[in-house]
Symmetry: C2
Subunit: 440 residues, 2 copies
């Protein structure tokens, strides 16, 4: 049978079914989809492929899903660290955004983010930022899968002047993008403390009607929860519950402040959590009780957050941190085991974004969103359990090849759809502009 | 003036003085020592060097000091994860060690550890394991600086049958190694719960007489502290204090269980802490209150612990984890800032090991223990603050070149003193042997 591609691998970890590792198997890809996973010697007889890759020192895994990003913020990587959250936002991040936010800023920052994510094995990201049409356009240009948040905050920005305009521009963008195969468009109201009831009610109604997820920062810090409790008499989760938002289309990011009854209620609602452990640590926001949430049956995905509070978009780092920190916080070395962390970074992300029928595991019928990790580095020897190594020992630099919907976007560490030199030149310019801003 | 080497760099971060970043400066090296740090254009006029390196996309930093290792345990990397500490030790690590521990095991495991550490910018390690004479021999062979613990436990091992023999073999090894320029030999009694008073008293007396440090696991887990309290009526730190061990030559590893008065007492004693954040998380041992310890004036260094509980020997990862986790535990985003984490991984390690007159910073008169980090990767763009990037964004794969005492041990990522293929062949054999052991 004639097909597009065969990838022969030393190991394939499909994530679905869980705990399975195929050895000396091949992935057969046609028309962007996985059509077969079978022993290599059989694959070579059964299929004639236009492209063949023999990756005999490699593990194939589903593409990683970065379930919470502000992609363009890579331009502010390391510009202000080691500061309390409010000082960081009010004296650094917000003034810089105020001065520089533009379509050009978002374009170049998103380009860097996509390049970095592809080089680190991320094939899909869930973004929330201004100028989402630019983020979508760049994702389409480079061929990465993306969930482009239709952002909304109460206050005006250079992108929109009021909640009605945010919603109108969001709806227009949704309409424009709805036939793009790699793009989905959740609503993305920023956070309970920045979006009032009226726009949240509209978003709730529209999300139901259009069957779109809702992506929101929730309970990021203790301060925010306490302040809202003082101002409104209720904790933000209570308010969101009353507004009807806690349902299987809701994606709550951070969730560091959770009481046990809230975990139970959230689980019953079937809503999703995106855990961002490195950002939560760097901003000292608090600890998401991941083991408890998983035990309650909540689908927990993983995200890096923006590069300004991380300072990278490294999902291997995030998997490792989730597994390590999850044990420390649970006071249980068996909490958040390697297979769970890998599932959080793949299938759970796809579930949260409502695209697990398309991606998130290496399963016949799903898109060929595939990452090859090269394992013959000294730092990965010896190998007793490839799943353990992916989480506890692999460095993202070991990602050798990446495919999205069957198209190869990273080939032996080279980005196939980028002009890297041109991008670096633009980044140098942004470095100069933003540096001048921060002097004094 | 004729000298051995000039290294021209885009940035030099000497660590001492703190917060300094030289731009377009050069490091002048002669007879293994740093003899000058000066602007490159002046350096080129002042010195004629036999070797010149132009590292114009790079940061030079002092070699990283991994202040707590069990180097040979790299052979058990990922062999048993996600298990509670006692189950991990009793059902996996100890039976494997029981079966396989030998001079050959320690030799090959140490080789892998040294290769991995050099490739990740570590120029000195502080080890505690059986067959320390083999660890020392391999360190000398490859040219890395090492602090080789003269191990002691109450129970017999394949290396020694009783405390007296451990001490006698340790003293003989100290005598044998005392003229080796790159090697020091602290005493290394394993932990309060594995070493009784009598051998600790002998070690205390001998350490004073020979002016050697004492390297010991202390207060690693709550369980261990509670058990000792029940059995002896005192917390381990109290006991060590009474035995006279808490002094400026004492290196206490882990220290996750600390009351405020213990921190004060430890600071007053002038003793050192080695913080191993990844190992503490992976084994769910507890959290060292690093910000509090630093505020009390304690010298806190960093270590990876053995690869079986980490699962790598990556000091860049450990710096980043120390900075991130330190903020989370202190609930303060300004805690353990980047410059502090870098200092913990360099100068503080040298202080703990009693070798800060020789290494730990790029200072005229110290040994040329130097690491070059390549910064023109997309993942490190843009660059506003090189110190921030070293801690929050650099990946150890960006280490390009490493020198110890002026000798280049890593050159454009190639190990100059290793036969890597031969090492890999040996590792494959160990993988097969140890895998067979773990079946069933």
């Amino acid at each position: 049978m004639q097909i597009d591609s065969l990838i022969h691998a030393r190991w394939i970890i499909p994530v679905e079914p869980t705990f399975v590792t195929y050895e000396y198997h091949s992935l057969a890809i046609d028309d962007g989809k996985i059509i077969d996973i079978l022993p290599t010697e059989i694959a070579e007889q059964k299929y004639q492929a236009k492209n063949q890759d023999s990756l005999l020192q490699h593990i194939l895994i589903p593409g990683l899903i970065n379930s919470h990003t502000h992609a363009a913020m890579t331009l502010m990587r390391g510009i202000a660290d080691d500061l309390p959250l409010m000082q960081w936002l009010q004296e650094h991040i917000w003034p810089l955004e105020q001065k520089w936010m533009s379509a050009a800023y978002v374009k170049d920052g998103t380009d860097l983010a996509i390049a970095e994510m592809l080089r680190g094995g991320t094939t899909c990201f869930n973004d929330m930022y201004f100028f989402p049409e630019i983020t979508a356009q760049q994702a389409i240009q480079y061929g990465i899968r993306a969930s482009i948040g239709l952002i909304l905050v109460d206050f005006p920005s250079v992108w929109a002047e009021d909640p009605d305009t945010y919603i109108a521009k969001g709806l227009a963008l949704h309409e424009q993008l709805r036939h793009q195969a790699l793009i989905t468009t959740p609503f993305a109201p920023h956070a309970p403390y920045t979006v009032s009831d009226l726009p949240l009610q509209r978003i709730h109604a529209l999300a139901n009607e259009l069957e779109l997820p809702v992506h929101m920062h929730v309970h990021e810090t203790r301060h925010e929860v306490e302040q809202q409790l003082q101002q409104t008499g209720q904790r933000p989760l209570q308010r969101l519950q009353k507004l009807g938002l806690l349902n299987p289309s809701f994606i709550a990011v951070h969730m560091t402040q959770l009481k046990d009854p809230e975990i139970k209620q959230f689980a019953e609602a079937g809503a999703h959590i995106v855990h961002c452990p490195e950002s939560n640590l760097k901003l000292a926001s608090g600890f998401c009780p991941v083991a408890k949430c998983l035990a309650a049956g909540i689908n927990v995905a993983l995200g890096t957050d923006g590069a300004a509070s991380n300072n990278d978009l490294d999902m291997f780092g995030e998997m490792r941190m989730a597994a390590l920190l999850g044990k420390g916080i649970a006071e249980d070395a068996s909490a958040v085991p390697a297979m769970t962390a890998l599932t959080m970074a793949t299938l759970n992300g796809a579930k949260a974004l409502g695209i697990d029928d398309i991606t998130g595991s290496l399963k016949v019928g799903k898109a060929a969103d595939v990452v090859a990790v090269q394992m013959d580095y000294l730092e990965s020897q010896p190998i007793f359990d490839p799943i353990s190594h992916l989480v506890y020992a692999v460095n993202r630099h070991q990602v050798s090849d990446v495919w999205v919907a069957g198209k190869q976007l990273l080939k032996q560490r080279h980005l196939t759809t980028f002009n890297v030199d041109a991008l670096k030149t633009k980044l140098t310019l942004w470095q100069q502009r933003l540096s001048n801003q921060t002097v004094g």
